[in-house]
């Protein structure tokens, strides 16, 4: 073959790339004006405030919790668009790459977003870029996975309290003595470390509760089931399980059920798979206390940012109370008709949101 063919081939490839990028360009050109146009008529009804350009940068989008969060957020965006408070909304998924998330936030600064919502991939690594955004006059509201910077609005739950509350319930249930397995999230992840910190504080007060194994696992059913099964085979005489995540709890309970063993109390989270199993086994004496990382954190963050721009004195740290799911109110939460991998939650009243954001 001749060199010309080769060169032609490479030129064609370059051209192809050019066309691809060109196509994206056209694509965005098409969507932006239509997006702006759709919000225009309602924008006219708004008061003096201009409609805002809002973006959400999230470290993950694929997990079902994130999908539910996105759905809730989009519903609230639609409502705020109707009120003329929000002009456009965009989601950015960093897909687990914190450096990518930094790039996204930088791109949002460059494109003059008014509100940046963030579910952070690292509790520290985003601080400089978020503070840069704040310095440029952008309102930054961080929710769920929080950063340590105090320059941004942070909407979250108290993860240490999460661990404390559920561990205290377990300790009481066990009458202050027994043997347990602790099921924690991945090592080095802030949420996991904080929940365990709270739990450990409680367990320290009960020297008769022996923690025979401390298991770290992804917050996923399959790896958690494996991890629990091996810990359980080494310690078959446990009288309880401290679990800090719903999938971890489901893994533990499922193992006990499968092996036809005594159903010991297991703490949990509003992971539907766990809630359904709990509802099913409640009559056999299984008991739990579960809590939730509510999806409406995203809505509170958005409304806090919009309120702040509107002149409300919004507190920088908004701690949303942890819901309590008990044997008594379980039926309000467990959704038999929904998939295991969903996180049922009771909606939060608007009055409660307004109180939290200082309205």
């Amino acid at each position: 073959m001749t060199g010309t063919t080769r060169r032609a081939l490479i030129a064609a490839a370059a051209l192809g790339a050019l066309l691809t990028t060109g196509a994206c360009n056209v694509d965005s050109g098409g969507t932006t004006p239509s997006g702006a146009a759709s919000s225009d008529p309602s924008g006219g009804t708004a008061g003096t405030a201009k409609a805002l350009k809002v973006g959400w940068s999230t470290i993950y989008l694929a997990p079902s919790w994130m999908q539910q969060t996105l759905k809730m957020l989009e519903e609230d965006v639609a409502r705020l668009k109707g009120e003329g408070k929000v002009a456009s909304y965009e989601t950015f998924n960093a897909n687990g790459d914190t450096s990518q998330q930094i790039a996204q936030i930088q791109a949002m600064i460059q494109q003059k977003y008014d509100v940046i919502l963030v579910d952070a991939g690292s509790s520290t690594a985003l601080n400089p870029v978020l503070e840069q955004a704040v310095a440029q006059g952008i309102t930054v509201a961080n929710f769920d996975s929080l950063v340590t910077s105090d320059k941004v609005i942070r909407v979250g739950t108290d993860q240490v309290e999460w661990g404390k509350m559920t561990a205290q319930w377990l300790a009481d249930k066990l009458g202050g003595k027994g043997e347990i397995i602790a099921m924690n999230g991945p090592a080095g992840v802030a949420v996991s470390e904080e929940r365990w910190k709270g739990a450990e504080e409680v367990f320290k007060k009960y020297p008769d509760i022996k923690i025979s194994a401390n298991v770290h696992s992804e917050y996923n059913l399959a790896p958690a089931a494996q991890a629990f099964a091996s810990a359980y085979s080494a310690h078959p005489n446990i009288t309880g399980v401290f679990s800090q995540g719903g999938a971890l709890s489901a893994a533990a309970l499922q193992t006990l059920v499968k092996q036809d063993k005594k159903l010991v109390p297991i703490t949990g989270e509003n992971y539907n798979g766990f809630l359904k199993m709990w509802a099913d086994k409640r009559k056999e004496g299984f008991s739990s206390l579960s809590t939730a990382q509510p999806n409406y954190l995203s809505v509170i963050a958005l409304e806090a940012a919009v309120a702040k721009i509107g002149g409300t004195a919004v507190p920088m740290d908004i701690t949303v109370p942890l819901p309590k799911i008990t044997d008594d109110n379980l039926d309000q939460y467990a959704k038999q008709d929904q998939p295991d991998d969903s996180y049922p939650i009771q909606p939060i009243p608007q009055s409660e949101i307004d109180k939290l954001i200082g309205k």
Binding site: L9, A17, T20, S28, F92, N95, T98, Q104, A125, E193
Partner: protein, 324 residues
């Protein structure tokens, strides 16, 4: 002997026909830059250059490290873990403020060089495939990193973080750091070691028969890769003002992607560092470009995959025709 080696290397270099590929990449880069400039007119302003170079530095330096390993015919799956390790060691030493930043850097780099050299020694002496050795090493160094820094934290002096991210008297420090690192590679490449690196990757038995200590070359190569990976980690620490024990993971595959896009062969001995630089810049700019276009991030991932496959396919086709 040196002559024979040089001839061998020159021949394999010519076979790769590196320059022609690079022209294609350069063309693509120009296209991307032009589109970028249209979407973000501040592209060539010092502030934007500072921001972008701070953003690209970890990927570029990680890809340089990956390239060195790939030139020996290996691959480094522990790169992300070693990057996090360097970052962790650096931030815990700068955190208390008693140690100077330079000393902390030297310690962090010493650790990553040793980690790299350990990988190299396992590859060279145990005779295990690099993909297995470095996969195992990724767990090992990941664990060590979590011991050093159990959760995100540490602290880098605020003045340094500001100067690095926002410019220092108008100078883009990360861009300068990249330039210095590339000059360092240029110097290394002209040494006898640089020559033997290509020789070992191109034809290990031939190199050995010509009196090259192939084991030593591999250990030095992995160690050198550790140096660049450590620099990437330090850059990331200064960019983010802190350390995060799990932040490095995506860099393993991204660095391989950048090197492959830049024309570095999986079989060793073929490829040039400027190709890797172009590859890393293209990957970085393309990702940013897609952010500006506002298309769904899921499509962005697909598009990135397509670009990568297309680039590799074009290169393979071009090289194959040449051989025929």
């Amino acid at each position: 002997m040196r002559n024979r080696l040089e001839t061998a290397v020159r021949l394999s270099g010519r076979a790769a026909r590196g320059n022609l590929d690079l022209v294609g990449l350069c063309g693509l880069l120009v296209v991307v830059l032009v589109v970028y400039q249209r979407l973000d007119p501040t592209l060539l302003e010092p502030a934007t250059i500072t921001i972008l170079s701070a953003q690209f530095l970890p990927l570029i330096l990680a890809a340089v490290g990956q390239t060195i390993v790939m030139l020996t015919g290996g691959i480094d799956l522990s790169l992300g873990a070693v990057l996090s390790l360097g970052m962790a060691v650096f931030v815990i030493n700068t955190a208390d403020g008693t140690m100077s930043v330079v000393t902390a850097m030297v310690i962090a780099l010493a650790v990553t060089v040793l980690a790299g050299a350990a990988n190299g020694a396992l590859v060279a002496y145990a005779g295990l495939p690099p993909i297995i050795v470095t996969l195992a090493a990724s767990f090992l160094w990941g664990g060590v990193t979590l011991i050093v820094l159990p959760q995100p934290g540490g602290h880098v002096p605020t003045g340094l973080v500001r100067a690095y991210n926002l410019g220092w008297y108008g100078l883009a420090l990360p861009a300068i750091a990249i330039a210095v690192a590339l000059v360092l590679w240029k110097v290394v490449k002209t040494t006898r070691f640089g020559l033997t690196l290509y020789a070992v990757g191109g034809n290990e038995h031939g190199a050995f028969a010509n009196g090259v200590n192939t084991r030593r070359v591999k250990i030095v190569a992995y160690g050198l890769a550790g140096l660049f990976t450590g620099l990437a980690g330090i850059g990331l620490a200064i960019q983010t003002g802190s350390g995060d024990p799990t932040i490095g993971t995506p860099y393993t595959l991204n660095s391989i992607a950048a090197a492959v896009l830049g024309g570095i062969s999986f079989f060793g001995g073929i490829g040039q560092m400027r190709g890797t630089l172009l590859g890393a810049l293209l990957l970085g700019l393309l990702t940013n470009l897609l952010l500006f276009t506002g298309i769904s991030t899921f499509y962005q991932m697909i598009l990135q995959g397509v670009v990568l496959v297309a680039a590799v396919a074009v290169k393979t086709l071009a090289t194959r025709e040449r051989v025929a």
